[in-house]
């Protein structure tokens, strides 16, 4: 063993001492020869014979040297190094070619690496520092006969903890937030309500203080303690080493800081970095709707589980379903028709993983296409060069280079190209790792947290992509070249006939593939663009311009309900008195914003739900003149007024969809609706608008007066023609006059709010557009290359045609039509593929058929124009051929 190691050491060392060792061997062998000659001379031979005999006894001189080298060094590595040196020399010799090839590949590999890093950082390993992420699964509740998902209830979660044997553990992490005033600015910080085992099961240990204890899960608001993030500790508390035990008011309750999480731990919610954690017992403080820890019907938590090693998600699902089935039997009142579903982490429906999945999936396909196009380009470039190098290669074959050796060397040249490109590509990917965040809007001064992750898995995958790419683009030319038929090539060289038909066929084939891939991307980009356009043009059902939205967080400042009511009444009065303000109204949640609406089971007089249906409808708590301010038309009935207060009879306004569903032909005004044991009288019908997303279908929804279902937090909507900044200044002045401790959130128009809600589409459109543009450029380069080469190689033919009387426009047409033929073939191929592929865009498409003729038509048009441009220069050059020179040429 040590023997082997010792030899290896010597062999490796000899790689670096090649010249010296060769010299030594020469000296040694010369000495050997002279000694032999002298001995032969002493034996009486003539000088010539003595030397002949000595050489004969020595054997092959070169062979001995080769033998020596082989034994002392690492011959395989040495030829590789030799190939590498040669490849680098070849690249330096044609810098334009090298740069173009590396550029194309860098774009291709970089785009791939960037998407890999996003998928890794957002879908597969989204939670840095968390142990065993590959075994984590997300849990949601489902209701039979309904699409979508709900959270889980806390009692059900505890049942899972107790009864599931295939899981290591379960934990809860429900996103929440609070407002901390930093200077005179109110800032929303993201937080998380977690089960007490959270830090322990994640394997994340606070760097200061402690994590939660099991007892802190229990009791209504009994444990006002919090663990803060490293970032919050640094930014808000200036890294205070004595922070443990200090207090912070959050949502009106004084919390004791018991721990600081380690740097780089961002919690467990894809899209936002969590800044603080509170135990589940504090749910009441941070969640609307009261204390829910003992209510099996309140499905509010977002839960995760970790599978035991070796357990598949299907097995785990079976166990979970069985437990859910038992719960259904044991607690029919709350659990009838309910089950629980497991999701792999990358499909988690309740955070941004779910919304990003289709975008990233689409991107993955797109970047693979871009890479293929780039490979086709480089392959074509290499083919062209292999013709230029056919002489060199023929000579090498003639002096005895083996087919394998030749392939190996051409492959090495390709590998050098793609390795350089991969290095550049990884740099691009690193630089792009925060690109997604830039494409998404900042909300209330908070940027989203969507980092790419460049770990070894991404690196390995990129390296693999680089290798496969090399095989793709280096193999074709290499196969072509290695098939060199010596006699034929030498003969054809003499005859002056250039390349065979098969080679130009390969090149044209590559261009057709490029064009077709590019066509698919253009169609995809066109469809996405149309979707975005449709979303933008769609009316949300309320005014988007001329309405501003903002809020003042009274909860964080410790206002109780009564103080809040007084304050808000005065605020509305003051705002309405401001010059330029038409009206102002409060609402608990603004549509298309980030808040979640209340939802409750309802009972409607005279409506018999089908046996499995438990009618449950979402609603919003809105103030007087909300509909006028928002510009939502009332179909009939009246708006809420200040008279609809705590002492008045409870009322509600339903939307048209709800009216049609529950009252069918009847006019619901004056009818009754039961919500949470309270009967409401319907006083108005509003036009159906969009509530959570621009993409939603019309759905039942209703409104109740804020005063009759009060919560302190509320958004302020203002109808005005003033610009947001001006309004913000005026509002700040009013606030200061009322309570100097209060701070204002950002003031934005509803249009801005709407734009933010469509940002996933925008990201998809932007990225696809950029990449499709890139693909177009690459394909144009490819087409241009092939046409230029064809023209330069058919100089003789062109000259002949000219000499025979062909005129300039005819020659021009000849070249252009050849180029167009390739393009059209590519378009047909691409269209056939696109018809099948665009369906995969799925939910990213909005009111656009995946076979939309406009998208297909414009892609055809764009490609045709671009290919005309790409062919123009070669065609023009063809017309400049001088027949006399051309015929003498070669």
């Amino acid at each position: 063993m040590t023997d082997q190691l010792r030899r290896l050491f010597h062999r490796v060392r000899s790689l670096f001492r090649r010249a010296e060792q060769d010299r030594d061997l020469d000296v040694e062998m010369s000495a050997h020869l002279e000694l032999a000659v002298e001995e032969n001379l002493r034996r009486g031979l003539s000088r010539a014979e003595a030397r002949r005999q000595a050489l004969l006894r020595f054997g092959g001189w070169q062979q001995a040297k080769e033998n020596h080298r082989e034994v002392r060094g690492l011959p395989l590595l040495e030829t590789l190094l030799q190939d590498l040196r040669f490849a680098l020399r070849m690249l330096r010799r044609s810098p334009a070619f090298s740069l173009l090839a590396i550029f194309c590949l860098t774009l291709g590999i970089g785009a791939n690496a960037a998407v890999f890093s996003w998928m890794e950082g957002l879908l597969f390993r989204p939670y840095p520092l968390v142990a065993h992420q590959e075994r984590l699964v997300a849990l949601t509740g489902t209701a039979r006969g309904e699409s979508g998902h709900t959270g889980l209830s806390w009692p059900d979660f505890l049942e899972l903890q107790r009864n599931c044997k295939l899981f290591d553990t379960f934990f809860v992490s429900k996103i929440t937030g609070t407002t901390l005033s930093i200077g005179d600015r109110a800032q929303v910080v993201t937080g998380s309500i977690v089960s007490a085992n959270y830090f322990e099961v994640l394997g994340v240990h606070p760097i200061l203080g402690r994590a939660f204890e099991p007892s802190e899960d229990v009791g209504r608001s009994a444990h006002p303690v919090t663990v803060i993030s490293y970032q919050l500790w640094k930014e808000r508390f200036q890294g205070d080493p004595q922070i443990i035990g200090k207090t912070q008011r959050m949502d009106g309750v004084i919390h004791t800081i018991i721990g600081v999480a380690p740097e780089g731990f961002y919690g467990t919610f894809v899209g936002w970095a969590t800044k603080f954690w509170v135990p589940a017992s504090m749910e009441d403080t941070f969640e609307a709707g009261g204390y829910k820890l003992e209510d099996r019907g309140e499905r509010w938590i977002e839960a995760y589980g970790r599978l035991k090693p070796g357990v598949t998600i299907e097995q785990a699902q079976q166990e979970i379903s069985a437990v859910a089935k038992r719960l259904e039997n044991d607690y029919p009142a709350t659990n009838r028709g309910r089950s629980i579903k497991l999701w792999p982490l990358w499909q988690t429906p309740f955070n941004n993983a779910g919304t990003l999945l289709p975008t990233l999936g689409t991107m993955l396909v797109v970047v693979v296409f871009v890479l293929l196009i780039a490979c086709a380009n480089v392959g074509n470039l290499l083919l062209v060069r292999s013709f230029a190098r056919r002489h060199e290669i023929t000579v090498r074959v003639a002096v005895g280079a083996g087919r394998r050796r030749l392939l190996q060397q051409l492959f090495m040249e390709g590998l050098v190209l793609s390795a350089l490109a991969a290095a550049g590509g990884l740099l691009i990917a690193r630089w792009c790792s925060h690109l997604l965040v830039l494409l998404l809007p900042v909300r209330n001064g908070n940027a989203m947290h969507l980092p790419g992750e460049m770990d070894w898995r991404v690196m390995t995958l990129s390296a693999a992509v680089c290798l496969v790419a090399t095989l793709l683009f280096a193999l074709l030319p290499a196969m072509q070249t290695s098939k060199v038929d010596l006699a034929a090539t030498l003969r054809s060289e003499m005859a002056g006939v250039v390349h065979g038909r098969s080679k130009s066929w390969v090149r044209s084939g590559l261009v057709v593939v490029q064009v077709s891939l590019c066509f698919i991307l253009l169609v995809g980009a066109g469809l996405l663009l149309q979707s975005l356009q449709n979303i933008r043009l769609d009316s949300p059902g309320f005014s988007t311009n001329g309405v501003l939205v903002t809020s003042v967080n009274l909860v964080a400042s410790g206002y109780d309900a009564q103080r809040a009511k007084n304050f808000q009444d005065e605020l509305i009065d003051r705002v309405q008195a401001l010059p330029g303000v038409e009206s102002a109204a409060l609402a608990r949640v603004t549509p298309l914003g980030y808040g979640t609406f209340s939802s409750a089971p309802i009972v409607v007089d005279g409506y018999q739900p089908p046996p499995e249906e438990r009618p449950s409808v979402e609603y919003n708590q809105v103030g007087p003149s909300y509909f006028a301010t928002m510009g939502i038309p009332l179909v009939s009935g009246r708006e809420f007024t200040r008279a609809d207060n705590e002492t008045a009879a409870p009322v509600a306004i339903v939307n048209e969809t709800m009216a049609a569903h529950y009252w069918q032909a009847k006019n619901p005004i004056g009818e009754r609706l039961q919500v949470k044991d309270k009967w409401l009288r319907i006083v108005g019908i509003a036009k159906t608008s969009k509530y959570e997303s621009m993409r939603e279908l019309p759905r039942p929804f209703f409104f109740v007066p804020r005063r009759q279902d009060f919560s302190v937090g509320a958004a302020l909507n203002i109808r005005t023609q003033l610009r947001p900044e001006i309004m913000a200044a005026a509002l700040s002045r009013e606030l200061k006059a009322m309570d100097a401790n209060l701070a204002l959130y950002e003031v934005i128009s509803l249009q801005e709010q709407l734009d933010r809600s469509t940002s996933p589409q925008k990201v998809a459109v932007t990225l696809t557009g950029v990449l499709a543009g890139l693909a177009l450029v690459l394909a144009a380069i490819g087409l241009y290359g092939v046409m230029s080469y064809t023209v330069s190689q058919s100089t003789r033919e062109l000259g002949l045609r000219m000499a025979l009387g062909a005129r300039t426009p005819e020659l021009f047409r000849l070249v252009i039509s050849r180029g167009l033929a390739l393009t059209i073939a590519g378009i047909f191929l691409g269209a056939a593929a696109a018809l099948g592929l665009t369906r995969l865009l799925g939910y990213l498409l909005y009111k656009v058929s995946p076979r939309d003729p406009l998208a297909f038509g414009s892609a055809t048009l764009v490609l045709t124009i671009v290919s005309l441009i790409a062919c123009f220069l070669p065609a023009w050059r063809a017309t400049r051929v001088d027949p006399i020179v051309a015929l003498r040429y070669e």
Binding site: D3, A31, R57
Partner: protein, 117 residues
């Protein structure tokens, strides 16, 4: 007649070189080659050049060492000598060959002779 000369089995040249150095002390490549030819009575088919691959292999294993010196005709030449580790290896290998050739001899005798007795 070259055709009747023995082809060297893999590894045997290394052993011969070790034995030669053990017996003769410090030698240069030519000396080793000549010595082997002489001892074998020119029965071994040896291209003298192949000795250098063997020498570098033995050196890498640390069984022989080399140093530059001057030959009898005042030329610069590389001289080899066996190391302690080389002697140990030699005794092991020699014992192995001894046993192997004993066994081979007996086996061959068996096939030629009768199976009586």
């Amino acid at each position: 007649m070259p055709a009747s000369k023995l082809d060297l089995l893999q590894g045997t040249l290394d052993l011969m070189v070790l034995q030669t150095l053990a017996a003769m002390g410090r030698l240069h490549g030519y000396g080793i080659a000549r010595r082997i030819e002489q001892v074998s009575g020119d029965a071994v088919l040896l291209n003298q050049g192949t000795i250098y691959a063997s020498l570098v292999r033995l050196q890498q294993r640390g069984w022989i060492s080399a140093e530059w010196g001057t030959s009898t005709n005042n030329r610069k030449a590389k001289f080899y000598s066996i190391t302690k580790r080389g002697r140990k290896q030699l005794s092991e290998d020699a014992a192995y060959w001894q046993r192997l050739s004993d066994v081979m001899g007996r086996v061959l005798a068996l096939s030629e002779g009768s199976d009586t007795k």
